[in-house]
Amino acid sequence: MKEKRIAHVGSLEVDISEVVRDPRGHEDEIVEIMENDFVEGRHSNFGGWITLLPDAADIAELDYALLSRYPPLYTDPEGVCTDCGLGPCNLEDGQGKCGLDMEALQGRLSLRKACRGCMTQMVASRQLLDYALKRWPEATPVSMGEILSISDHAPAISVLSGIHVKTIKDLNRVLTYGEGQLAKLFQASYSGTGTAVNFESMVLHAGSVLLLAMGVAEMLKISCYGFISAANQQLDGIEQFPPATLSCGWASIESGKPVVAFVGDDFLPAWCAVDQMKQDALTEKIEICGLGATGDDIVRFYDRGRIIGPAVRAPKAIRNGLFDVVVISPGCVPLDLLSEAERAESKAIWVGHNGSGDLPDSTDQPIDRIVDRLAGGEKAVWIRDPEKAGKVALQVALRVKRGAPRIISDADAMKQAKGHKHDCDLCTMVCPVGLPVSRAVRQLSGGDWTGFFEVEKGCNFCGKCEQACPSQVHLRDIIVAAERKGAGNDKFVMRPGRGPISITELLQSAFAVGWGSIPAMVTIFGCGDAHRDEIAWIASELLNGGCMVFVAGCAGAEVARSFNQAKKKHLFQQYNATCASRNIVNCGSCSAICHAVPMYLMLRPSGGIPLFGNLPPLGDSISLGGAQTIILWGALPDRMYAAAAAWARLGSTIIVGPASSLGWKRYLVGNRYDRSKWWVRHGETGKRREVEPVKEHMVVPVETKEEALTMLARSVLNVRDYRESRLTHLEVLIDYCERFYQQLPEDWWLAVRSDFELPPRYRRHMVSLLESEHGWETEGVKVNKARHRDGRMMTMSEFAANYGMEQGIYCTRLRSLLPLRLRDTAED
């Protein structure tokens, strides 16, 4: 029998077997976590649990609580299931052979989408880890940075896994766990049975696993690959870290120098190339560019890197013909970049782990030979060794002398445009984002490029217009030419990604968030691309409105392009970059999503909630009391679908923009009219209490940028709002509704707990409406009696005890999070 292990939690001596079902040999670590991260007051009141390396089912109580309030809503459902050899089954006629019904199939497909998204990151993280294991000993210490303590050093990893990561070996352990979980989820996404909610619970788990994989990647980037990290900086001066001085965009590339571009998720070839450039003193001689995640990563270890655009823009960028060499790795979206490179006569190096087309694997060939082949006329090679790929890229760039970029001439473009069928609108009709292509063609036939400048901005380069064109106009070439014309002005200054956030830094603003003077902590993820102007508008509005804004992924460089004419500054130059009001923090590439808006970091000191293997109290707490919202905007790959699930499980609302929502078929939406859904358990009695239908949705689509802001204002109204924060949150919602729709939101009165929480400027009017439209008893700016939703008239103290949570009382949606003395006796 194993020795009993005791951890000292304050004055308590706790047998670790009370906390961990199966310690799996991690006893020492669990004792360390308990003694450093558990708080006695909380433990004696609530007990504690570390769900070490959990399966989805181990933490599903939280998922089911969330999904019962925010059930899945599927759009454009699939009716036929072809997942197994027994089928196909037409579920529109009833259940399939495995018992699956139509709604459950949508859940299964939703899980598949989340798994695909999670997998792209998992593979990228594994790539980084395997390379690290090759270069450094397993015992090499890792961290997100030196100034973080045990609790905040890697919450994206620890909150799910319960592991305190200290070495590369630990990272391997957690990533192996993540891979195992992903395999289980993938299996369920093809052969799982059950209800839609069962599957959606696993979708949320896929999100958590994605976050873990992102955390692993970030820790490796910082510890092994020399990425800058805000957690290696003193807090003094952090508001300007890193400085907003990085020049990016087409016009930042110094002319006359060879240009190497890196595209995709894998920055390792770029990292090796930069290392080589430094050794060979080539940094002044070669320009290094990046597209997509790699671009965002390069600028965290190389301050001369240039971000050109998001991954989805890569085909257009490559056809632009400015790159001498393009190093292509698998990315978040599948793109035929090798063909584009060939067309533009750029030399291509494919560094994927799987082959592409008929490219032979040149990994084992000597560098000189590969360089000779490319310089001698071969168009592309496949090299699986990042070091070799990096060296080859540099040498080829120095040897290849390219002519002028092959851009369609103005005369040719006009000639083609003149040849189009004048009464044809097919190109416009097939455009998935509705761009006015045919009008642009007509304008160009008269020599006017204006229309194509507009089309270019919104174009995702899918090529549907070209395929549809009966006159064979080379529309994409013309679009690239339009981009080329504007490239001379495409230069912006940005702040590279900074990595993690510390509890100490975040707590500087804890009050401002709690009291509402920071109305929301908002993170903007997404590709931007065609929608970058909207993203920039949203970011600017939020910053002007006093929010704390985070960006991660390609959205970071996209908002950076926004230029304020009056101030003559780009967006990152206008604002500081710490966790405070009117600050914008660029966390980094996609994997840095795991750092963004860590409301849970605030709950660690303020609520004593441990951050190891402890998702349910965090998700529960933030869903009831966190002013944290995510906005996803632009054409989004599946990775964002899983990322949305991750943050939803941590209690945030996810607002999905119009382009993204085209590809999404599942939302998690609440129903404010269904009163049975809006309850919490009172922390002192355990009884259920009806509450306001606030934080109305979990994953919700919007159609316009204005709607995004009003939805955001709705999303930060929460059950645990203090007086002051409820007032601010209501005020923001009303301001936006008045400004954009010239009316009050129809349901504002459902969020009223006291006249004290009505914005002073609107208070008299709102109080009079409470009386005239809702039957409350009022006098001037005061409410004397309220009418409960069940129709009863109540004094304000009765109302406070019957609707919404009383101020300053703990509450929860989960029975397991009631104080121990109430847990077994609380009624259902």
Binding site: G10, S11, L12, D37, V39, E40, G41, R42, S44, N45, F46, S149, D152, Q234, L235, I503, T504, L507, A510, G514, W515, G516, S517, I518, P519, G546, R582, L603, R604, P605, S606, G607, G608, I609, G625, G683, E684, R720, Y722, R723, E724, T728, V732, D735, S754, F756, P759, P760, R761, R764, G780, V781, K782, S797, E806, Q807, G808, Y810, C811, P819
Partner: protein
């Protein structure tokens, strides 16, 4: 007598404006200005249209809110502006200023002044393009060029007028006089004598409502953080404000009066069991009831023995250093190591979440200025270490004879070195608490535990 009369200064005539006083029209005409606390922002020097007071004028300016208890003495909604308006000055101008605000309302007394001041500050901070630093005694205001065409001094007064009358409906009349002391108006020569009288009035107002713990029968409790730290109860007495520093005893009292369903509640003081420690029967009862029956006894003036519980929002913390039997202090923005060998963030994590952590107590910066600060542990005679910045900031509240004897991180963070330092500097702790030049460390019970009976 008016401030001008007392100061013997002739104040030039100004322009008068009548603000809307009909309750349905208090906010009329303000739609073109962003209002709400989220508009709190910084106005940089390069962006400012006008600056009032501040370091350039050695803070020789004031804002005074006077509660007039006699009816008919306050001209309702009148603003008298003496000097130029916002749009009438050269961008970037800076002048001293004197702002007198009078308030009348049936039942509104000196006790309400702090609460109304807070509402005034809330309303002003939330005006687009307006920035304020400092206290009423040393104000520093800036107004941005971006609102120069839209915002006027009368509109700023209107915001306060409308806001205060809405949130404190008992207020019936408010009158404003604002002197913008451009050189034409009289500059600093006009303001300085007014300032001297004004400051005396402000101090007299403070004194008129200042209370000692002995003067009251009711303390207040705050459980706002309980929604996160379920066992936590904050105790507010005249001398002890909450750790988060957001309000005082008077503020708590008026808040309960106006908002009885809020998160602040009256707490019977009960019988005083120990004046030095700040031990009261009423406090013990209330804390027990509201801490899920977890905390049986709490001393208001001690960090070492049965301190009150800690939420997570404290501005700073006091912590026991056994090696020297003394207390250290640290505030959140200090990111170095403390003599406990941990940083503030770790310390905060260990002691928060609503536990009673003997030897550790959350503190607010303002409570450090109180006479009863850690009185139960020996007050400043027991404090041996604090961060240098914090020490400098609080210099005027630290007894002169101890000031140089308190170590900072610039002296040492090592307990052994600290012991040497205290001996060398002859810190009072050596004489009063140590025995034969050696500290006598207490055996501090674990959190939630009991001290042995003495």
């Amino acid at each position: 007598m008016t401030v001008g009369e007392v100061a013997g200064v002739k104040i030039p005539p100004g322009r008068e404006y009548q603000l809307p006083t009909d309750p349905d029209h208090l906010w009329d005409g303000l739609k073109d200005i962003g209002l709400g606390i989220r508009w709190v922002a910084e106005v940089k020097k390069s962006d400012m249209q006008i600056e009032l007071s501040g370091p350039k004028w050695e803070y020789k300016s004031y804002t005074i809110l006077e509660i007039i208890e006699e009816p008919g003495k306050v001209r309702n909604g009148i603003v008298t502006l003496i000097g130029p308006d916002i749009h009438e000055v050269e961008p970037g101008s800076s002048f001293p200023s004197a702002w007198d605000i009078k308030v009348y309302g049936q039942g509104i007394t000196q006790r309400h002044r702090e609460y109304i001041e807070r509402q005034m500050a809330m309303s002003l901070h939330g005006v687009e393009g307006y920035m304020a630093f400092g206290s009423f005694q040393s104000p520093w205001m800036r107004i941005s060029k971006s609102v120069a065409g839209r915002l006027t001094f009368a509109k700023l007064c209107q915001v306060i007028h409308a806001y205060v009358k809405t949130v404190v409906p008992q207020v019936e009349a408010m009158e404003f006089r604002w002197i913008i002391a451009s050189p034409e108006v009289g500059g600093l020569a006009l303001i300085e004598p007014l300032y001297k009288v004004g400051i005396q009035r402000l101090k007299a107002q403070e004194l008129s409502v200042s209370l000692e713990d002995e003067d009251v029968d009711i303390f207040y409790g705050c459980t706002i953080c309980k929604s996160l730290a379920p066992n936590h109860v904050c105790v507010i007495t005249p001398s002890q404000i909450p750790y988060c520093g957001i309000l005082s005893y008077n503020g708590a009292q008026v808040t309960v009066e106006l908002d009885p369903e809020g998160y602040i509640f009256p707490m019977r003081k009960g019988e005083c069991k120990d004046q030095t420690m700040g031990s009261y029967t009423g406090v013990d009862e209330a804390v027990y009831e509201r801490s899920n029956h977890q905390i049986k006894h709490a001393n208001v003036f001690s960090a070492i023995k049965y301190p009150t519980t800690n939420c997570g929002c404290f501005e700073g913390a006091a912590f026991y250093i056994p090696e020297v039997d003394g207390l250290g202090l640290a505030i959140r923005r200090y990111i170095g190591v403390t003599p406990l060998g941990v940083k503030f963030s770790r310390l905060a994590g260990m002691i928060s979440g609503g536990s009673q952590n003997h030897g550790n107590k959350g503190i607010s910066v303002r409570s450090i200025q109180s006479k009863t600060f850690l009185k139960g542990d020996g007050g400043w005679n027991r404090i041996v270490w604090m961060p240098a910045d914090m020490k400098k900031e609080l210099a005027e509240y630290i007894p002169e004879e101890v000031y140089d004897k308190i170590a900072t991180e610039q002296d040492t963070v090592d307990p052994v070195e600290l012991k040497k330092f205290l001996k060398e500097k002859k810190h009072p702790i050596v004489e009063k608490y140590w025995k034969d030049g050696e500290p006598q460390p207490l055996k501090v019970p674990l959190p939630g535990g009991d001290w042995p009976r003495e």
